[in-house]
Symmetry: C2
Subunit: 510 residues, 2 copies
C-alpha cells in the first residue's frame, strides 16, 4: 500500500536552505509578492508559525525581492532549517504566529507584579518552544534584572527550566556532588582540579559546565582544549560510571536547555541578574541529579560580586531556593581582587590547570590553594569532618599525584588528553612606570582577552607575569597577549593602550 | 584633473543589495570563509561597523555559505543599503563595532541608578546613530518600563530626543498650539476635527501625528486615507503658513526621529511606559515649536489609563516635565469606557470624521461632542475665557460648517481631499444573546481590528452598530468586520468567536 503524500495545500511552500547563518534566531525568507504574503498580510518582521511534517516553530519573516527566490519557495536560516529537520523541497505550511499567551505574564512582570508558578512555567515553556523573539527574551531578562526576582519566582524559574530539558538520575548513589563558581574573576579555573581531587576521594561528581557567558573562558571552553567535552547523555553516563566524575559541556546533554537560550541573549546584553543567576545555576544542578552543591563566590572591587553585602545577599537567595528544592548547599566567599593563576583564555588556563595537577615548578600557587580549599569543602560536606582535616586530605590528594591520575582517567574516558597548543600572534604588555602593582581591573582584563579573540579562538588570551603586590620596573613585561589573527591582536593592543588603569602601578614602598 | 578613486584596502569589500527587507534592523551578509571574517574573528551575529564614502553604521552580521555571494562582496539588507546611500559595487570598509560607551549607562539603569542628563544624552545619541541593536533598545525600554523614569530623567530624555532631530520654529507667532491623546481608546479620532475647529478660530496649530504604535490606527493612518500626510519640512511650513494648521505625519519632517526608532520596538513588545510616553509626546511638541499643549486622557477599565489615580499620576508627570520645558500644558481626563464614534481602523475612522465635520445625519454624536470639548479647552487656553463660553464657540464653529471649510483648506494645501474607499471582504458580528450591551473590551476590540489587517491595510477594521447601554436581540449585528484579504478576515472572525467578552451583553432591564 502506498502512502498518499503531499496533499496540495493553499498555505504550503517548498523549503530551501538559504545558506544564511543567523545563530539561534529563526528567520524565514518569502517573496514580498507571493500570494500567501498578500493574502495573509505578511510583511517584513511579521512573526510566522512554520510547520513541517512533524515539527513547528515561530520565525521572523524577512521578505525578499523576486530575484532572490522562485515563487512557491520559502527560504530558511540555518538554525530554523535544523530545528524543523528539513530536506530541500519539503513542504511546509505557514500562518500568522498564534498569540503567545505568556507575553501577558511578561507584561505583568514589567508592571511590577510577582509572577505565579503557572505564569513562569508559561514563559519558560514558550521560550523553550521558540515562541519568543530575541527582543521578547531581552525584555524578559531585563525586567527580571531591573525589578528583581523573588525567592518564589526563582524557585519557579528553576523548576520550569529543569522541566524544559533532560534529567540525569544516579539511582545507585545516595549523594551526588557538584560545584559552581559565580565568576567574574579571569583565570579562576579551579573546576578541573577540584573535580579531580573530589572524585579521587570517592565522591560522585558528574560536572557539566557551560561555555563562557560574558567572560573570556568558561570551564567548558578550557576543558575542550584538553579533551572532548560535547558528550552525549549516554557517553556522559558511561564516563561517570567509569570514573565517578566527568568534565563535560552542558550543551548536548540537554540539561536545562532553555537556560542556554537565555544565556545567548544575556551574553549579548552583558546581563547577569541575581534571580536568573540562581535559577540558571540550580536548574543545571537539579537536572544533573545533584544533591550537594558548593558555590564559589569571589568578592572584589572589580569582580562580579563587589562587596560582602552583595555576596551575603546572593548566598541567602541561593540557600533559600536550594532549601525549597531540597538541595544541600554551601557558599564559600573567596578573594576576588585579582585573577587566579597566570593564564586567561581557554588555552592559557588549560596550561595552568596541567601544571598544578602535575605539581610542576612554576605552577600558580594561588590556583592550587584555591582548588584545595574548594575541594576540602566538598569533602567536608561528604564526611562531616573538620575543615582543617579535609584541607589536609585535599592537599594530599593533589600533591601525591592522585588528583592528576584521576584527571587523566576522566580525560581518557572522554576521548583522550590533548596537550594545548599556543597562539600564532603575541605582544608583550609593558609597565608604563616603575613601582608596585597595586591593583588589576578584572573587568577590563576580561575585555582585553575577549578583544584578543577568547573564547571563540581558544589560544587567544593573556599570560600574566606579575601579581598584585609585586614590584615592577618601567618597561617590564606585565603580561603577554595572544591572538590567532593580526586584526584581533591589534584591536586588543589598542584597547590596552587606552586603558591605563588596567594594571595600576603605584608608588614603590619607601 | 581626475580624482584618485578606489585606493586598494585590506578591509574593503564591494557592496551588493541582497533584496532582503529586514525593516529597520541593519543586517550585512558576508561569506563565512572570507579573509576578513577569518582575520577579524567575525561570526554570525557579530556587530560590525560598516563605512561607505560618507556614512557609517553598525550592523549585525549574518554569515553566508560560499554559494550565496562571490568572494570580496558584502551583501546589505534594504534599510542598511538605504542608510549608507550605496550603489552596486561601491567599496565599503568593515571592522569590529567600537565599544558603545552608553551601554554602561544602560547597565547602571538596570542596576537601579538614576541616570544623569549626560548619560541619557549618550544613550539617545547612540540609538539615533544606529549604534544599538534591537535587543539593546528592547533592554533600554524594558528597564525604563520596569524601574520607572524620574522627572529629571524624563526631562533629559525629552531634551535628548529633541536634539536628535529637526526643530520647527514659528518666529512670527508668539503662541503655538498642539494636542495629543494618550490613546487606548479605539476610534477616538478627534484630532482632525479639533485641529479644524481650533484653526478656524485663528489658533496656530501645526499638528504632526505618528502612525499607530499598538492600536489599529493613529491619526497619521487615518489622515493618509483622506490626503497626503508625508510632507517634507518645507511643504509642512507652507501648509501651516497658508492655513494656520496642518495634519501631517511626523516621519519625514524628522521631529524627534529617535522616538520613531524606540516606537518600533515598543510596538513589537506592546510596551508603552509612563516616562517614555511623556518624553515621546513632549519631545515631538517641543521639536514642533509648540508653546501650549492639550493632553486628552481617556480613563476606563479597558483603556490605556485604567483609573483616576493612574491618570492623575501621569498628568502630574506631564505637568512637571512641561514646566521644566516651559510649556503651558493642560490635561483633560475623558470617558474611556468604550470606543468613540462607530469606525475602528483608518478608513472607518476617516468616514466618521467626515460625517461629523459635514454635520451629516448619522454622524456619531459622541465623537462630535468629544472634539468640541477638546477644542474648547484649546480656545480657553488661548483666550482665557470661561469653559462654557469656549464650548459654545467651538460648537458653533463645527455646526456652522466653518470647521469643515477649514479642514478642506488644510487637505487642499496638503495635496487634495480624497474620499475613503472600503474593504473588499466583510463579515457581520452577531450578538450571541438578547439583552443590553453592558460593556465593550477596548483592548480586545483593538486586537480584533489589528487581526483584520488594520492599520497596514487602511480599509481593514470595524464599524460598530451598537453603543454601550443599548438593547440588542440575539442575532442582531453588533459590528461589521472589514478586511482586504480572506485570510485576515478568517483570522479576525476566529478571534471574535473565541472572545465572548469582547461585547458583553447583560440582562435586559426589567
Amino acid at each position: 500500500m502506498t502512502a498518499i503524500h503531499e496533499i496540495p495545500c493553499d498555505q504550503c511552500l517548498r523549503a530551501r536552505l538559504m545558506g544564511i547563518d543567523t545563530h539561534e534566531e529563526a528567520i524565514v525568507f518569502m517573496r514580498e509578492d507571493c500570494a500567501i504574503c498578500r493574502a495573509e498580510g505578511f510583511t517584513a518582521n511579521t512573526r510566522l508559525q512554520v510547520k513541517s511534517t512533524d515539527r513547528s516553530l515561530i520565525a521572523t519573516l524577512h521578505t525578499v525581492s523576486a530575484g532572490v527566490l522562485p515563487s512557491g519557495v520559502i527560504g530558511f536560516s540555518d538554525s530554523a532549517w535544523e530545528f524543523l529537520n528539513l530536506s530541500p523541497g519539503d513542504e511546509v505550511e505557514v500562518r500568522h504566529a498564534p498569540l503567545v499567551h505568556s507575553l501577558s505574564a511578561l507584561r505583568r512582570k514589567i508592571d511590577g507584579y510577582e509572577l505565579s508558578e503557572h505564569e513562569i512555567n508559561g514563559i519558560i515553556g514558550d521560550i523553550s518552544r521558540r515562541l519568543y523573539s530575541d527582543i521578547e527574551i531581552a525584555a524578559f531578562l531585563t525586567t527580571c534584572a531591573t525589578g528583581g526576582v523573588t525567592r518564589r519566582e526563582t524557585r519557579a524559574l528553576t523548576d520550569a527550566m529543569v522541566k524544559s530539558g533532560n534529567r540525569l538520575q544516579w539511582p545507585e548513589y545516595p549523594r551526588v556532588f557538584d560545584k559552581h563558581c559565580i565568576g567574574g574573576l579571569p583565570g579562576n579555573r579551579t573546576t578541573p582540579i577540584v573535580i579531580s581531587i573530589a572524585s579521587a576521594a570517592g565522591l560522585l561528581i558528574p560536572k557539566t559546565s557551560s561555555h563562557a557567558i560574558t567572560s573570556p573562558a568558561g570551564t567548558a571552553d578550557t576543558m575542550s582544549v584538553l579533551t572532548r567535552v560535547d558528550l552525549s547523555l549516554r557517553a556522559l553516563k558511561r564516563v561517570v560510571n567509569e570514573t565517578g566524575a566527568c568534565l563535560a559541556a552542558g550543551g548536548r546533554v540537554g540539561l536545562s536547555p532553555t537556560d542556554d537560550i537565555l544565556i545567548r541573549i544575556e551574553r549579548a546584553l552583558n546581563l547577569d541578574s541575581e534571580g536568573q543567576l540562581v535559577a540558571s545555576v540550580l536548574s543545571k544542578k537539579v537536572a544533573a541529579g545533584s544533591t550537594h552543591v558548593l558555590i564559589d563566590m569571589p568578592v572584589g572591587p572589580t569582580a562580579k560580586l563587589r562587596d560582602q553585602n552583595q555576596a551575603q545577599r546572593l548566598a541567602r537567595l541561593f540557600s533559600a531556593v536550594a532549601e525549597d528544592l531540597q538541595l544541600v548547599l554551601r557558599c564559600v566567599i573567596t578573594d576576588g581582587t585579582q585573577p587566579v593563576g597566570y593564564g586567561i583564555g581557554p588555552v592559557e588556563e588549560a596550561r595552568d590547570v596541567l601544571t598544578v595537577l602535575r605539581n610542576q615548578a612554576g605552577a600558580p600557587a594561588d590556583l592550587a590553594d584555591r582548588a584545595v580549599l574548594l575541594a576540602s569543602h566538598l569533602l567536608a560536606m561528604a564526611s562531616g569532618e573538620s575543615d582543617a582535616h579535609c584541607q589536609e586530605q585535599a592537599r594530599h590528594l593533589l600533591t601525591s599525584g592522585a588528583a592528576n591520575r584521576q584527571f587523566e582517567r576522566i580525560c581518557a574516558a572522554q576521548g583522550g588528553l590533548r596537550e594545548p597548543t599556543g597562539a600564532r600572534y603575541q605582544a608583550v604588555l609593558q609597565a608604563g612606570r616603575s613601582g608596585v602593582l597595586a591593583a588589576v581591573d578584572n573587568v577590563r582584563l576580561a575585555q582585553l582577552a575577549k578583544l584578543a579573540g577568547a573564547p571563540s579562538s581558544p589560544a587567544a588570551g593573556l599570560r600574566l607575569h606579575v601579581k598584585v603586590g609585586e614590584e615592577v620596573s618601567q618597561g617590564q613585561a606585565l603580561a603577554t597577549l595572544f591572538a590567532t589573527t593580526p586584526g584581533e591582536l591589534a584591536y586588543a593592543e589598542e584597547y590596552y593602550s587606552r586603558n591605563h588603569k588596567l594594571f595600576y602601578v603605584g608608588e614603590p614602598p619607601e
